[in-house]
Amino acid sequence: MRKLGIIILALLATAGPQLFAQTSAKPIAIDFWYSMGGANGALIQSMVKDFNDANKDIIVTATYQGNYYDTSAKIQAAVASNTTPHISMIVDMHNAMFADAGVLENLEPFMKRDKVDINDFIPGLLDWSYYNGKVVALPFNRSTPLFYFNKDQLKAAGLNENGPQTWEELRTYARKLTKKGERWGFSCPIDIWFYLGMVFQNGGEVLSPDGKHSGFNNEIGTKPIYFWREMIDEGIMKLPPGKEYNSWDVAMQDFLNGKVSMIMTSTGYLYGILDSAKGKFNVGTGFLPKSKQYGTPTGGANIAILSGKPAKETEAAWKFVKYMTDTPQVINFSQKSGYMPSRKSAVSSASMQSFFKEKPQFKTAIDQLYEAAKRRPCHPNYPELDKIIMDEIQRTTIDRSYTPEQAMKAIDAAIQRLF
C-alpha cells in the first residue's frame, strides 16, 4: 500500500507541473474595440497594456474603429457575419438597440459574483445600462454639457465671478458682456444636447409618464427656444455655424479667442480649454443655469461585452471590463482624459479630492453630474428621435416662421410613432 502511495506521489510530482502547465497554456485572446483617437486613444492603449502585464493569461488587443457611429456600423456588420469583438465601446444612444437585439452579454451575474456594486456607479450615468431588467453595459467615457465662462471678462463687467445661476441671470450677464462688433456675451450650439438640458432645467422629461407621448409638448419645451431666439435677436447670443461637432469646435474657438464670454459645451473640451486658456484668462465653470431646477443630460459611451462567445473568453472579457471600470482605473482614466468618473468611490477617493483642488472646474462638472443629471429614455428608437428633435429645433432657429409650438407637435408625433 505504501509503495503504491509513493509511486502515485512520484507520478503526481512529475506529471503535476504538466497538468498545471496545460491549464495555463496560451493566453486567451480578447478583442476590444474603441472609438477614440488622439491622446485619449493612447491612454486606452496604455491601460490595456497595464492590464495585459498584470494578467499574463489574457491578452487584450484594443483597436480603434473610427468614431462612435463608424464603430456602431462595424459592430452591426460584425454581428451579421459572426465576427464580433469581445468587448466594445458603444455610444450611449445605441446601447438599447444592441441590447434589444440580444447581442450584449448580461453583466449582472458577473457583477453579483464578483461583488461589483452597481450602486457605486453614479445614477445619472446608468441611463443606458439597464435593458429589460438586465445590466447590458457599464459607463466608461461619459461627459455632460458644462457652462464655461471667462472669469476675467465677467469680473471686468462687474459680474459675479461664479457665473450666472439662472436663465434670467444668463440673459442679464450676456447683455452686460456683449460689446457690439467685438464680443458676444453667450454662445451655444443649437444642439439637441443643450436643448434637452434646458428642457430638464424647465422641469421636463423626454417622455410623458406613460412613455408614449412627448414630455415637453408645452411651455416646458417651447420656453427654451423662445429664450434662445430672444437672445439671438437681441444680439447677445452667437449661433455657431455648423452641425454637431463642427459647431462645438467653433464655440470653443470663439471662447478661447475671447470673442464670446460664456459658452455651453461638453466636459470633453475641459482639458483642451484649460490648456489653451492658460496664461490668457481664467476659466470658470458652472452648472448649466437653472430655470426651475438644475438639469443636464449625459453623453459619451459605455463599455459592453458582446454575447455569443465561449464561456472562457467571456470570463476573460469580464475580467477586463471589471478592471477598466474599477475604481483605480476610473480615477486614472478620468483624471487623464477629462471624462466623468463613473463611480462614487472614485469621486470620493483621496486622489480625486486632491485633484479637485488643482482643477476646481472639474469638480463643478462632477457636482452637476451628481445633482442634476437626468436620463434619456433607453429605447432602441431613441437615436432617430434624437435626430428629429435636432432637426426641429434647428428649424425653429433658422426659419422664424416655424413656431416652437409646431416643432413640439412634430416631436410629439414622432414620439408616438417611434415609442
Binding site: 444592441f98 455655424p241 455648423g242 452641425k243 467653433v250 474657438q253 428608437n381 437615436p383
Partner: protein, 306 residues
C-alpha cells in the same frame, strides 16, 4: 465605331479585324472580370434589392418581408424628398460647373511653356489629394466667422454664410467638389484638344473662319468623346458623393445638404434600419441608371468619332 450598350455589333461590316478565334476565347478572357463583377457588383445589388423589401436589421438573423412599405415611407418622408432634391441639384451644379470650367481652363492653358504647364499641374493637384483632407481644409476656410474666406471678403465689406445657411450650403459644397475634380477633367480635355490634327485648323484658316466659329463648329464637336466620358463619370461621381457631407455638414443645416449616400449611411448605421436604407439605395441606383441610360442613348448619338 462606338458601341451602344446592349446592341449587337451590326454596323461594322468588316468586324474588328480579328479572325479565326476560338469562340470560347472571349469568355475565358472575361472570366476574371466576370467573377469580380458577380461578387462585388451583382451580389451587393441583389442583397440591396432584397433587403429593401424587408425591415431588415443587421442585428437580427431573420427579417420580415414588408413589401413596398419602405418605399412608401420614403416617398412620404419630407427628409427623403429633400434628399432627392438636394442630390439632383448638387449633381446638376457639379456637372455643369466642372465641365464649363474644365473646358475654359483646357482651352486657355493648352499652350506650350513652363508657366502654362505649371498652371495645369496646380489645377490638377487637388485631384490627387484625399477628399477627406480637402473637406477638412475647406471646412476651416469656410467658417463664417473665423475662416479665411470671409476674412478676405470682409476686406470688401461682404460676407457669405457658406456652409451655415440652407441656401448656400449646396453651392459651397459644389465649389469644393469642382475645385477638386476640375483639374482631372481639364487634363482629359487638353489631351483631346491636342489630339485634333493640325490640318483641320489649317484648312479652316484658309477659309478665313472666325475664332468663335472655329471653336463651336469644329473644336467642340471633335472633343465630344471626351466630353461624353466626363459627363458620365462626373454624374455618377456627383450622385455618389459622401465624404464632404460627412465631414463638413453632416447633412445640415436641417437636411439642406443631405444627399443620397449620406442619408443611406445614417439610416443604416445610426438608426439601424438597413431595409429602409436599402430601399433608398435602390432608388439611387435606378436614378443613376436612368441618367446613364439617357446619356448613352440620346447623347451617345451626338458623339463624333474620327
Amino acid at each position: 465605331m462606338v458601341e451602344r450598350i446592349g446592341e449587337k455589333r451590326k454596323h461594322k461590316a468588316q468586324g474588328s479585324g480579328i479572325k479565326n478565334y476560338n469562340p470560347l476565347s472571349p469568355y475565358l478572357m472575361l472570366l476574371p472580370a466576370t467573377c469580380g463583377l458577380a461578387l462585388f457588383v451583382v451580389y451587393p445589388l441583389v442583397y440591396l434589392f432584397r433587403a429593401s423589401f424587408t425591415n431588415r436589421s443587421l442585428l437580427k438573423p431573420t427579417a420580415k418581408f414588408v413589401g413596398l412599405e419602405n418605399y412608401i415611407e420614403l416617398f412620404h418622408s419630407v427628409e427623403f424628398l429633400s434628399v432627392i432634391k438636394n442630390s439632383i441639384l448638387y449633381a446638376f451644379l457639379f456637372v455643369s460647373f466642372s465641365i464649363i470650367f474644365a473646358l475654359l481652363f483646357a482651352v486657355w492653358l493648352n499652350r506650350p511653356g513652363r508657366i502654362w504647364s505649371f498652371a495645369q499641374s496646380a489645377i490638377f493637384i487637388p485631384y490627387i489629394v484625399s477628399f477627406v483632407t480637402i473637406s477638412l481644409v475647406w471646412l476651416w476656410l469656410m467658417d463664417p466667422q473665423v475662416g479665411l474666406l470671409n476674412t478676405l471678403l470682409g476686406a470688401f465689406g461682404v460676407s457669405y454664410p457658406w456652409l451655415s445657411d440652407t441656401k448656400s450650403v449646396i453651392p459651397s459644397l459644389v465649389l469644393v467638389s469642382v475645385w477638386k475634380y476640375v483639374g482631372y477633367y481639364m487634363l482629359l480635355l487638353i489631351a483631346a484638344l491636342q489630339n485634333i490634327p493640325r490640318d483641320i485648323y489649317e484648312a479652316v484658316k484658309i477659309d478665313g473662319a472666325r475664332a468663335r466659329t472655329v471653336f463651336f463648329r469644329i473644336t467642340l464637336p471633335l472633343i465630344t468623346p471626351s466630353l461624353f466620358f466626363i459627363l458620365v463619370v462626373s454624374t455618377t461621381e456627383a450622385l455618389r458623393i459622401f465624404d464632404p457631407i460627412n465631414i463638413m455638414t453632416q447633412g445640415g443645416p436641417i437636411n439642406a445638404s443631405s444627399v443620397f449616400v449620406y442619408f443611406i449611411y445614417e439610416y443604416a448605421f445610426k438608426y439601424f434600419r438597413i431595409g429602409y436604407a436599402s430601399a433608398a439605395g435602390v432608388i439611387l441606383f435606378l436614378i443613376i441608371g436612368v441618367l446613364v441610360g439617357i446619356y448613352f442613348n440620346m447623347l451617345g448619338k451626338r458623339v463624333h468619332y474620327q
